[in-house]
Every structure is written in C-alpha cells, then in structure tokens.
C-alpha cells in the first residue's frame, strides 16, 4: 500500500509541477486572500496582529478547496478515472497518495503564507514548535478530509460548485483549532496551544482512517 501511495503521490506531484496551477493560481489566490482581508480590517496594527492567525487559516482553507478540485480534476479526464480503477492499485493506496500530494502542496503554501503574514501583519511566532506541529497535523486533516470529499463529489457534474459547500463546514474545526493554536504560538503560550492540538490530532486521525476505509467504495459509487 505504501509503495502504491508513493507512486500515486509522485504522479500527482509531477502533474502539478508541470501544469503549474499551484504556482500561478493557488499561491497567488491565497496571498490575495491575505491582502484583501487585511484591507478589510484596516491599518490598525493591533487588529491585524490579532486577526493574523484566523486570516492565515482562512487563506489555507480556501486554497485547500482549490487544491482538492485540482486533485479531482486530474482523474476526471476521459478514461483516466477508469484507468486508475483498473490500474490494480489498492484504493487505500490511491487515497494515501492523493492525500500526501495535496498535503505537500498545502505545506509549501503555508510556508509562503507564513512569510506573507510575517511581512504584512508584522507578527512573530514565539513558540515555533507549536506552530509547526499545528500546521503539520492540520494539513493531514485538511488533505485527508478534502480528498475524501473530493471522491464523494468526483462523479457529479456540479462537483466544482458542490465541493466547497460540502467540505468547508467539515473543515471548520481545523480553522478554529488551527487559529487558536497559532494565536497561542504568537502569544508564546504553549500550554493553551497544546490544548487545541487535542482537537486537531483526532480530526486528522479520524479522517485518515475513514479515508483508508471508505475511499474505495466512494470511488466505485462516483
């Protein structure tokens, strides 16, 4: 299963590297979200610093939807969906591979956004390990839940508009817990931040397990 997951992840990442959709569309979109929300809040530095974690995770969340849509679109070409089903790859391997590819893209995006937040909102992370762990765990949750709901919507003609409606409410706990954990990391309060990890970790584990179990049936149903 892990060999197959690596194969699928490598394939998806190669496709993304060639298409450059992530580089020229998803990253600029996420930076735009940062800038526009900052405009909406106004020039007050204290307000911007206070809102920075929430804005960061809203940008990540919206970008997750775009990344998932790309991941689904890769397999929606004529013949490719059947090709993947006939490939002999275990559906759990496909799920893990696609989630890994999405997760890696989101991590790169978060590094860019982190730099953007630092420059635009003049904030500094005091508990780096907390911000890093929160990002890693939240990314696993976002990628697993996203790929799962992507499979659910894959066979639908209205998938592009339906996917955000399906997936954004599901990802709300990541927005909440991620923002709070990052706020704690900015404030230097590692103990309160660790409490929010207790929401992020089960979320990631639950969607990882559900994805491994249900991706195959969802793929068939789609």
């Amino acid at each position: 299963m892990w060999r197959e997951a690596a194969l699928v992840a490598g394939k998806d990442l190669r496709i993304e590297a060639r298409s450059r959709v992530g580089l020229w569309q998803v990253v600029p979109f996420a930076v735009l979200v940062l800038v526009l929300v900052a405009f909406a809040i106004g020039p007050d530095n204290a307000s911007l610093r206070h809102a920075a974690p929430g804005i960061f995770w809203i940008a990540v969340l919206f970008s997750t939807v775009l990344t998932i849509q790309r991941s689904v679109a890769v397999e929606s070409g004529e013949g490719t969906r059947d090709g993947l089903r006939l490939s002999g790859i275990d559906p759990a391997g496909i799920f893990l591979g696609k989630a890994a590819a999405v997760g890696l893209q989101l991590l790169v995006l978060q590094i860019v956004l982190w730099a953007g937040v630092t420059v635009l909102f003049n904030v500094r992370v005091h508990v780096v390990w907390l911000a890093v762990v929160a990002s890693l765990v939240a990314t696993i949750g976002l990628a697993c839940a996203g790929v799962l709901y992507g499979a659910l919507s894959a066979g639908l003609r209205v998938r592009d508009t339906l996917l955000p409606i399906l997936v954004l409410p599901v990802l709300a706990p990541v927005l909440l817990a991620g923002s709070k954990a990052w706020q704690a990391a900015l404030d230097g309060s590692s103990s309160s931040g660790a409490g929010w990890l207790r929401i992020l970790i089960p979320f990631a584990v639950i969607y990882l397990v559900i994805g491994i179990v249900l991706y195959g049936p969802l793929q068939e149903a789609a």
Binding site: R3, E4, L7, K11, R14, I15, R18, S19, V74, G77, E78, G79, T80, D82, G83, L84, R85, L86, S87, G88, I89, G216, E220
Partner: protein, 264 residues
Amino acid sequence: MPGPRPLGTTAPGPPTMVPKAMAPVVQFRAAVALAGRFPALAGVDLSLHTGEVVLVVGANGAGKTSLLRACAGLLPVTSGEAWILGVDLTADHTAVRRHVGLLGHAAPLYGELTAAENVRFAVRALGLPAAAGDRALERLGLVGRLRNTPAGRLSAGQRRRVALAALVARRPALWLLDEPHAGLDAASRSLLGDLIGEAVADGAAVLLSSHEPELAVPLSDRVVTMSGGRVTGTAEGGRRTPLAALPAVEPPPDQGTMGTWHVA
C-alpha cells in the same frame, strides 16, 4: 457455474490465469448489468476461452461497450452468472481488474505526463519493472521524441498507441478492446493485428468490439452479434478461415451502419 477456479492470488501473474481445459476466461449466463436503472446488459450468454479472439458486433447502444466494461469489473453484474478468470463478478466485481486490460474509447492517459511516464505508471502500478514499459513503447514505435512528449500534445492515434503500449506492457490475461482500430493509421492497425496474435499465442484471450468488420473479422475466431443488451447470434470469424473464403452476409437492419461482413 461448475468448478470455477479462484485466482488465488492478487499478485501479478502470468498472462493466463486459467490454463486451457479449465474454466473459460469469460463465462456469462443470463448476466444482467444496470447502468442506472437502464439494463445495459439484459441477460448475456457468452463464453470465451484461453487463446480465443471473439469479436462483438452490433448497432450503437446494443451493449458492446457495457459488455466489455462488465468483463473489466467496471460495470457490476446484478444478476445471472458472470465469471472472469475464475472470479465471480456478482460477488466481487473489482477483484479481476488487475488481470484484465481495457482499451476504451478514450485513452486513459494523463496529459501532463509523457508517453513513457504514462506507460511506466501503468506498469509500476502492477509492481512490474519499468523495463517492461520501455519494451512495449519500442514495440509500438513510441521512441525518440514521441516517447518524451506529454500525452496531451499527442494526436488521437498516438495517444491510442500509448494506451496500447501500457496494455501490452501489463500483459493481461484478458484483453478487452473497444473499437481498437479507431484513430489508428494503416501501419498501427496492422501492428494491432500482430499484437492480438501474439497475445493469444502467449495464452491470453481477446474480446473486442468493432464497427469495422473488414478489419476485425479476420482477427477473430468467433463473431457474436449483440442487440438490446443480449447476444443474439454467433458465427465463425476469419482468423482461421481466409476472409475471402467466407460468404458475405448483409448485417440485419439494425446493424445498418456496419456494412457487409463475412461469416461462415
């Protein structure tokens, strides 16, 4: 069905999972498959043995593509009997997939990946060495620039050759070819005939559908006619009988688009 043998392994096996004199490669009896609420297959009876090439003909909507998809485990059989390579499709229609090769209307290729990368992905998915893909690419004439061109920039015929290369490299026990001549030039069509001959000589079985009987009948041992999701007739093909020796037969009225074909 009496005495079907389970595959017994999910690992990539030799091209023929069911040796001669054992269960047929394909055994359908009164097989029904639904596409939504519509019966795409409405009680199909068909058997196909190792080393045999069977051509399926019929008008548009007769159920040819559905039959091939059911054999590939992509369309669940809801009633009747359906065995592929000893696997009961009514119990688990997905288990057979890694042992069959389907060339559908659309080539299952990723446009951003090169021809070689597409074939290599298909090969490595089965755990086979990448060299198998390289040999198949050479066999299909996909060398030099073509080999490293993104599939999205290839012509329809070239994409079909890449898909064929992936199929050849995977050495499936059952080849399922849906309109395999479509989009191919004369040389590629000739090569396709050679590949089918080599596959059956190697112990595989081939089920193909075609609207070009002048090309497909000479490749086949048997020709079965489908209409309304059922097999409505069987005739001898031209693989072992020279086409010229077969009497010309006009197709039935609902097969009007197919032109004249030869049956014994």
